[in-house]
Symmetry: C2
DNA sequence: CGCTTAGTTGAGTTCGTTCAACGACTGTGG
DNA sequence: CCACAGTCGTTGAACGAACTCAACTAAGCG
């Protein structure tokens, strides 16, 4: 399995961050931007399939996803795996490990991923000197909590078809907010990942996805899911969708 | 259904908070305590069964649970309900609503509950003047995220018996940390609540609980679950248990 | 060329569901 | 005081959703 590797060669200055111009993210003051720039230590690149963070590790760092898709998961001792949520550009990862000492979940890259690395030691400085950014971190933690609430509702109470529809609609909407699709709306994921997210077996996941495909809501590609009709997917799940407010990130 | 009502008659001073002496909670500086005392606006009492916060409401306040048990939940349009997590003394609630405008879940009391009410408007002051408390709020959000991760793993990947064992062991450990049991370790919950937490039907939940009772791990009471052997429950679920570090609260 | 990974499909089994009925207990109104 | 309804827990029977097992295609790679 491929592992992540540091990229010393290049550090995108925060002032030229490709994410900031997106309408989805809030504007920052020069002061905030200046601090974040100093807070940022470097960049890290991970290949598709690489483990970015591993459960049990005493993570030294905090990361923001710059590009790529990944997922957080936990596993039982006998290998049963549950995907908890997906990570995309702008998402903060490693907060649990930074704040509470030890990671309780692992993170793996779905596509090639690049990350901004922040210095854990400067986190207290951030809280002391930049309360607006501290508030942003809390905002992001609350947002993550909200997504987990939705996922829990989905796994606990929706049928297999509804669950699959919800998950794909969710990933589709998130991807669209971040401008991750150019024309073809393909989510880089295998059916095994979907199964591990929905709490279903691979076989049943496959049969469920076929039903969605038969309705022309999705189309399955090499190793990706193309979304043809996100609205109907959301409707099948009885899901309201994400709110479109501008959000912070580091 | 009973509703919550304000208690104007009495406001416990934070300096005499019954929770602070517990070894489970971290010590606070006089400065921090002074601010929290000013931050606290009053108290609120809710009867068992009362709805404390409702999905969709623009919550004006932030609360800390002083006494009692409750739960957070979400429901689908057709009534299917999923319990997301339980609330106990020291837990902060209403953060999502305060930070992001609108509550996305409801909260209901399991037993009579009393709450400290904080002024939402002073939250920015907290972030500006008391970074250590701001950090505490982030800590609590991250902790909630961690619990949701565990629940997700449980519902997604554990069998009915393992799920039930995990849930009861979890509630038992939390209750014990907070000194909520005096001799008899009874969790004030109905089988319907357990079913709505585990994502199972009431009938199958009942049959599953009977298996645990047959093994003398639990005993079912009037409207509560008495835990006889929390260790074995955790072992059945393959669950490591909560960490016992001291934690913050407001 | 064999080897691995991802996706597909059918057959039989198991786990959890729904439907239904019943006992115990509580509170309410006549 | 009793009759009645409501909640909570319990149990059996029949059904269905999702699982495991197994076999097979197609694509990618050393």
């Amino acid at each position: 399995m491929a592992t992540s590797r540091p990229t010393h060669s290049f550090k995108t200055p925060c002032e030229q961050c490709p994410l900031r111009p997106l309408p989805h993210f809030r504007e920052f003051t020069g002061d905030e931007l200046g601090f974040i720039s100093k807070f940022k230590k470097g960049e890290l690149a991970a290949d598709a399939g690489a483990t970015i963070l591993v459960e049990g590790a005493h993570s030294a760092h905090l990361f923001t996803v710059l590009t790529g898709w990944g997922f957080r998961y936990k596993a039982l001792e006998d290998g049963r795996r549950q995907i908890l949520n997906y990570i995309m550009p702008g998402d903060l990862i490693g907060l649990q490990g930074t704040i509470m000492g030890e990671m309780q979940h692992s993170i793996e890259a779905l596509s090639p991923v690049s990350l901004c690395v922040f210095e854990r030691d400067k986190l207290m400085t951030l809280y002391n000197k930049h309360p607006s950014l501290a508030f942003d971190i809390t905002w992001m933690a609350a947002q993550e909590e909200r997504m987990l609430d939705e996922h829990l509702l989905s796994i606990g109470r929706r049928t297999a078809l509804e669950r699959a529809a919800y998950l794909i609609a969710f990933l589709y909407q998130r991807g669209k907010q971040l401008n991750l699709f150019n024309g073809h709306s393909a989510i880089p994921i295998t059916q095994q990942h979907i199964a591990d997210t929905l709490g279903l077996s691979i076989v049943h996941t496959n049969k469920t996805l076929k039903k969605l495909a038969a309705r022309k809501l999705i189309r399955w590609q090499e190793r990706a899911c193309e979304v043809l009709d996100g609205e109907t997917l959301a409707k099948i799940a009885g899901w309201d969708g994400l709110d479109d407010k501008v959000r912070p990130f580091l």
